[in-house]
Symmetry: C2
């Protein structure tokens, strides 16, 4: 989806949060943030006092096709100016300061942002500069702080990684993909009767081959084989393959049997 002439066709999805990068330092980080925003369906980028000015060619190089986000980014002198039209602003902040403030997890923030956006209110996410993070005055502009649950022994996150986690949580908060699915493509999960049909075939061949000749043990052995194949969803296509395997192996045995009696 990337690498297209002029970049990907990124459009605003719903009433998504505005991403506000406060005093960002490196152009390539701004580009990497735009890419991360595109991944999570965030589209509107605002820059507060970027250190090296704007536009910066480096940014487009690391955006991986998220050009339109950079093309339409706006520049502001102050945080207050960048958030003036927004109703709720959350500030990402790895290290808590001595302030009284609601603190949200990234997931909690994403769910609140979805709920606020659904009311037609405009939201924003503040991210601080690469080294220092947001200062106390920046945070005083925010309704709440967002703190990612991450390994406290190693919290050092780069800017684009901080953005991708919020973008990912924003996207996921409205996503209903099942946590586990079976990708079957052209085939389907087989119903029990089709599985039973294969097991009947297998047991018949095992009887004929002599594998189940110990009659007292036979019921337990058949159950164990059954347990193995019942463990996961088996598809129609896989059962056809298994039928083929059993038939071919049996045929080989029968042919050897004929050869030996010749």
């Amino acid at each position: 989806m990337t690498g297209r002439e002029g970049g990907a066709d990124l459009r605003s999805l719903g009433n998504a949060p505005v991403v506000v990068l406060v005093r960002p330092q490196l152009g390539e980080n701004i580009g990497a943030c735009a890419r991360a925003m595109g991944n999570g369906g965030l589209f509107e980028l605002r820059l507060v006092a970027p250190r090296d000015g704007w536009p910066q060619e480096h940014a487009w190089r690391t955006a991986s096709g998220a050009d339109r986000i950079l093309d339409e980014a706006t520049v502001h002198e102050t945080v207050a100016g960048a958030v003036a039209d927004l109703h709720h602003v959350f500030a990402t902040c790895p290290r808590p300061r001595h302030i009284i403030k609601p603190v949200l997890t990234a997931r909690g923030a994403a769910h609140e942002l979805r709920a606020i956006s659904a009311r037609g209110l405009r939201t924003g996410l503040l991210f601080g500069p690469e080294r220092a993070g947001l200062d106390n005055d920046d945070m005083a502009q925010a309704d709440a702080l967002v703190r990612y649950p991450l390994n406290p022994e190693f919290m050092s996150l780069n800017l684009a990684q901080a953005v991708i986690i919020m973008a990912y949580e924003w996207w996921t908060a409205a996503d209903d993909t099942p946590a586990r699915d079976l990708m079957t493509n052209e085939t389907e999960v087989a119903p029990k009767a089709t599985l039973e049909n294969f097991l009947t075939h297998l047991v018949a061949e095992l009887d004929e081959s002599g594998f189940l000749r110990n009659l007292p043990k036979r019921p337990g052995m058949v159950r164990n084989i059954r347990h193995l194949f019942q463990r996961g969803e088996v598809t129609e296509q896989e059962l056809r393959t298994l039928h083929g395997i059993v038939t071919e192996l049996s045929l080989g045995r029968r042919q050897r049997g004929r050869d030996e009696t010749r």
Copy 2:
């Protein structure tokens, strides 16, 4: 926590998944992956046939202190060799191929990894090379594929971003931080009686100042003021500040009153 001599003191936390980078191309991406692993408490890195050999100096430069993960990384010729001692292997795969395979979301995978690890079994996560991703033979080594729910219009994720999302989900799956909390530091959320005490003070001063002199409207006005202060948790410290503000504003008014009657 970073920048320490020799990097952060990263240790294996629990029975965490092994990260297997398959045919990674750029050393700086390997370093960025190590940093992302450290963020999420993943410690063990295995490299399958890194394009430019191993070790590569570039990697340590982008690891931001996650040196120990790189120092202890092992190199393997094949995926089969890299996963030989593992019991469950999940492969991240942005584009589904025509295969029959369980597909998990990143969150679903993280919860399953936690459950499998808790049984004492060893798990691993496969990540493909930067451009091509995992090939069909790589994926055939895995129990399940992991597909992140992300904007289908813009799925281009760099390697370290793919790693940080899984590392973040792994960490979060065992985290019980409340989705919303109030950071109060030295103070505490005030109980209703303390809030009531302030409201009584405020209303008394408003009565004296004449702000509530319209008696038919007074009950509604008092209720509206009450609604405003009841909306969020107010701390003891904030209520002391509010008492001070009301007292000072009232004092100013009384002094002006005295000055005017002088």
